[in-house]
Symmetry: none
Subunit: 215 residues, 4 copies
């Protein structure tokens, strides 16, 4: 199921695992990478934030780049797995499911630090292409697939009119992803431009989708 890009990014030669300490290091690293980007993050600061010395980082990782990739990978992988379970949706009708999906997405990603990951990967996509490909293939595609399945179910149920759900899926995800990215960047330094809360926004969004999908 995994793409080649995924493989390239998932199975690193450099391994290491004393499990427990590394996780703290990666968390500290990811926080700073999300905040400042890869190049602007100093390992000194990562070490300081993790409460260790600079040399300790090199006990677990072989380079700054390794730390970077690991911090992204180790955050994404549980994310993928967690999301995999969401696929086993309940048997709610599609319209309810749609709202549930967006709420779930927001609570799991948009409202958490994970949303910083999306910004980070976009910012560094050109510098770390396999990482971007991995993200695209394993995270985004999967995420959209869940959404498409819900829509297809709605069509099958006759609740939604027949549309190209695959093409629409991007339109449906965009507002949430956009808001998530925004909250990690411009939203961090400006008083919000959004007039409504995320929940209210989702309500409006779902309402709009449902209206547009009326048979």
């Amino acid at each position: 199921m995994s793409t080649p890009a995924a493989e390239a990014f998932k199975a690193p030669r450099w391994e290491r695992r004393k499990d427990s300490r590394p996780a703290e290091l990666l968390q500290a690293a990811l926080d700073l990478f999300v905040e400042r980007g890869f190049a602007a993050t100093r390992l000194d600061d990562v070490a300081k934030r993790a409460g260790v010395s600079k040399g300790t980082l090199y006990l677990y990782f072989s380079s700054k780049e390794d730390i970077f990739k690991a911090s992204v990978r180790e955050t994404i992988v549980p994310m993928i797995e967690a999301f995999g379970e969401t696929v086993n949706q309940s048997d709610l009708p599609a319209d309810k499911l749609l709202r549930a999906f967006f709420m779930e997405w927001w609570n799991s990603f948009g409202a958490t630090k994970l949303s910083g990951l999306v910004k980070l990967i976009m910012a560094e996509a050109n510098n770390f292409p396999e990482m971007a490909r991995f993200f695209n293939d394993e995270v985004i595609a999967l995420n959209l697939r869940v959404l498409i399945d819900i829509a297809d179910k709605g069509v099958a149920e006759g609740r939604f009119r027949k549309v190209d759900t695959e093409a629409h899926s991007h339109l449906w995800m965009a507002p949430l992803v956009m808001r998530a990215i925004w909250s990690q960047s411009v939203g961090n330094v400006c008083t919000s431009m959004y007039m409504v809360s995320a929940e209210e926004m989702i309500d409006l969004h779902v309402d709009q989708i449902l209206r547009s999908l009326r048979p």
Copy 2:
């Protein structure tokens, strides 16, 4: 009209020879900043791409940060001005206008290198907060305002049902902005995930909006 943030970003003390600043330098710089981010861009490369020596950059700018801000500022300012005129739309009915607006946006921004600007500003928002604020206040807000005006006009004309246009405006812009950012990042290193062309996507998007706005 300008916010304080705008002022801070627009009129730096140290800028003086604005008129003589070669556009090539700024263009070269912006291209690289968009591609790699601020920290990962070397002035050596900027100079090489612009076809000048490294020292020459310092005849026109006082620092790397200055080059960065100038390249963003002097790209955005004409953008704002150009967009200001779009506001004075023709007297098309609101539904036509809406499609025209998105097409125009895509052709002017989404499909051009300017879309890299959005990605860049998001990526560096935490490191350059005034820049982000300026962008938020002077570009995004203005852009949304045009869209809101169109929607309000549609409501006034009775073509659209009455909705909170301000709140909806984010939902409406997101798919295009998202696609623009995407094309500058992950889309650069993956075969496209989007199944349809931008024009087709806009058609779907407008269609969806109009359906959802039916009175």
Copy 3:
């Protein structure tokens, strides 16, 4: 004529040449490498000795290893060429020639800083094998060849008895090479163990060789 090893060492990808400055840098570098060895030499010190800043070294060379190899290479190459001319010996009889050869060798190498090169290459042979191979193939072999030719001439002239000159050549060179190495190492920190001057030693040495070669 050159061996593969020679090629590998002679034609580096990394080139660079602003000719004039580099030569001073390499001289400073070689002095320190000879004195301390590769790993124990700090580029800071090389720069200081050359009277430049650390960064300057990187304008001309791409790494410490590059500096090392270049300092050896650029010293050896003229050495080889200079020695090539010595081959065109005068028409002295072989016994005179032999003495002349050793005196020349001592004055050109043994008594100069070049003798440090031999020590250096032996010390770093395991860490820089191509360098050692180059030295072996292009310098040592050539050097021995000249000596062998002289001995062969003596045999042809009937002045020397017939011996395996190739096998003997090592026996003949060893005392001078050994003394050269010694002077760059232990001799540097001890009062000399040698009871006689180099010239006297050469006299004894030639005398011994000639006696042993009597027909």
Copy 4:
């Protein structure tokens, strides 16, 4: 009998548990020092080769330098002692004794890892002067003395003509020492330049010496 240098090198204040110092550690250390030099040898590798942890090294030695000196010292000391007995030669005639001496030297030193010691000490003489002095005073001088005694005996017996045996001794040792060093350095990475085996070389060498010493 020992020189001050010898004392300084042999009896360091900080050495105390000489008896318990595992020979494996010293052997592993010496092997790597010989192969790579002092600075280029990592204690990590020494520990790994000795099959202990890095920390263990510090139970027996106080520093890397201590390990280095000990590995050299404790290899040399038995060497000296063993060699001292060689002095009490049998009552062979001097010419036979000479050949026996060289063969013994080669088998004891030249053909063993001990020959690496000579290379090592030369390479590090400038960085570790007392070590070099110790080696010079206690090993080389002693070694030469044995050789000189043999030659003197030959002169006394009337088998050799009267020469300055002390001055000649260096000429006589050089080929073997040179070959020993060579085998630990350039010879390690090149196919041998020597056309004959060490034994054959010694035969040629002794033959040459004897011829030149004919009354």
